[in-house]
Amino acid sequence: MKRKAVIEIQGLVNTFGDQVIHDHLNLKVYEGEILGIVGGSGSGKTVLMRSIIGLHSYDKGEIRVFGQKSFQKDVKAQWGILFQNGGLISSLTAAENIAIPMREIAHIPEKIIDELVGLKLNRVGLPPEAASKYPSQLSGGMVKRVALARALALDADLLFLDEPTAGLDPIAAARFDELILQLQESLNLTIFIITHDLDTLYRTCSRLGAIVDKKIFTGTASQLQRMDHPWVQDYFNGPRSRAALKSKELL
């Protein structure tokens, strides 16, 4: 079956001064898949995501999202982004943060925005009291969930999640994984996850991409496990990875 590529990256080169981060990196993300990106610290996972969404101007290469090279508002209505530190606007309450895309992009009538915000808050497991709180009054985990609710505000077709479960307790992280799977199922989302959480990786992702040696290698977990590269071997055959894999099999 020929699948439609939502994101196409060709020959991406990113450098910071003398330091090369990505060297002719190629990647395709297909419609309806959950792609998990792994890589050591500083390997350029976040830079890759920022290059895709247009926040980082890359040196060379070509990136197309939904077949387009430059992103107008119609593309921005089709994606939702969860930033590593939440990226919530500090002068707005949680509810107002979630309402931003509804108001600014979709122009949803005011009378149902409140109710939709309530729905989203509830969906990500936040209590109603959280709605009127400012980001500075929320705990780290709650900030993550508000940010996720904002990313999901318009049921975007393409979701970027940068370390979504980092800083969450295991129960919340597991619930988060379930939520991602459910959403993917009911909305046929394409999800691009950067994560170090091996449980999330094995539980939710249909395909993995490992950034090593300035390039990306993709495949299923078992394919990557057999890859002959020291970092990949360490990563996927390390004790924590095996434990996570085992717990997945038990499920």
Binding site: L116, L154, D155, S186
Partner: protein
């Protein structure tokens, strides 16, 4: 988007057939709501919903739809759904599972809130004054510690701050002082010429620049440049948990962050005040020599007659006091930052406003003091 694209209705006896089509997504929320509000329901007993032609349904669309269906039920109208895809069904179930009415904050009457607000502000002001006094005490203790153990003083950051607070402020303070001198001289010559006393413009410029304008101007520029920078730097360090980290190393944030900044100001601000005085008089000289036909020599001898060393000292003595106030307020507000990025901006503004306010109040206090002392 026309209504035809979103749904078609057909009425047969007491049954209304509604067939949904198109994209029921967040982006078309407005036309969907509009279309739904126009459906004629009089005499309808039963509704048959068909989702067969639906291209896309998302949470927003599903939410509006489920609200609409619940509306039928309230009217006692039977609803029959057909041709629903499993994904649409699960979405509809999800939105009804997770729906809830957002709680509105209960509002007390406005006069009560106003009185409460006044009370809160008063108490906040009182608490802040206590904190500030406490902070001054801490800084004093820190200063004594530094005097007793001079090797603990952070010389490196002290010199760094002297450069940033003092050297980097030279161009702006120089320019402003020069221009103020020019302005004073121009106004002075204009008024004094009516008495044929243009030469006394030199006295006017000399005394006002040395006693008041030079030092005040310097203090205000430094408060704006450096007081704000102190508050912002320390504030972001506070947010970044750097201040907490410093504490866990057994160091005092006052010793590490506050004292080097205040001592740097204590050194730099008086020097800047002298510099400002010199350039202010220079600006005045240029203007006077242009407007009134006197030589630089005459200007200098008139200046010498007008100002004495005490004129200079009366102005200069204020500089260290202003320096300490600006440094204290800037650092204090910086350490008060908590919460988020917004707080940094708020405290930075407060630092500037409060330090300029205090500088002006203290300047007035000095004037009163000097008038009693007769200097």
């Amino acid at each position: 988007m026309t209504n035809q694209d979103l749904l078609k209705t057909l009425k047969k006896d007491d049954t209304l057939y509604i067939s949904l089509s198109g994209r029921w997504t967040a982006l078309s929320a407005e036309p969907i709501l509009h279309t739904l509000s126009q459906i004629e329901l009089s005499g309808v007993q039963k509704v048959c919903l068909s989702l067969q032609d639906l291209v896309k349904l998302d949470t927003t669309g599903a939410y509006i739809l489920s609200k609409f269906i619940n509306g039928f039920k309230e009217f006692g109208i039977l609803v029959h759904k057909q041709d629903i895809s499993p994904t649409a069904l699960s979405l509809l179930k999800q939105v009804s599972d997770f729906a809830y009415e957002p709680k509105r904050d209960s509002f007390s009457p406005s006069y009560r809130r106003w009185i409460e607000g006044v009370g809160e502000k008063c108490f906040a002001g009182y608490r802040k004054s206590l904190h500030f006094i406490e902070f001054i005490g801490e800084v004093c203790l820190g200063t004594f510690r530094m005097i007793r153990h001079p090797h603990q003083f952070r010389y490196l950051s002290f010199f760094g701050f002297v450069e940033r607070v003092g050297v980097h402020a030279l161009p702006i303070i120089g320019l402003i002082s020069f221009l103020i001198g020019v302005v004073l001289a121009y106004q002075g010559v204009g008024q004094l010429a009516k008495f044929g006393a243009e030469i006394f413009t030199v006295n006017l410029v000399g005394v006002s620049v040395l006693r008041e304008v030079g030092i005040l101007l310097t203090a205000i520029v430094v408060a704006g440049r450096s007081g704000s920078a102190f508050a912002a730097q320390i504030g972001s360090m506070k947010l970044n948990e750097e201040v907490d980290a410093i504490q866990t190393f057994g160091l005092s944030p006052v010793d590490v962050l506050v004292i080097p900044r205040i001592t740097a100001l204590l050194v730099a601000l008086p020097l800047l005040a002298v510099y400002s005085g010199v350039l202010g008089i220079l600006g005045g000289a240029v203007m006077i020599m242009n407007l009134v036909d006197i030589s630089f020599q005459t200007f200098l001898s008139q200046l010498k007659a007008a100002v004495s060393l005490s004129t200079f000292w009366v102005g200069f003595i204020k500089a260290p006091v202003f320096a300490v106030i600006i440094g204290l307020v800037g650092c204090f507000e910086g350490l008060n930052v908590k919460g988020g990025a917004e707080s940094v901006g708020e405290k930075t503004t407060l630092a500037v406003v409060e330090s300029i306010f205090l500088v002006l109040v203290l300047d007035a206090a000095f004037s009163i003091l000097f008038s009693y002392l007769g200097v």
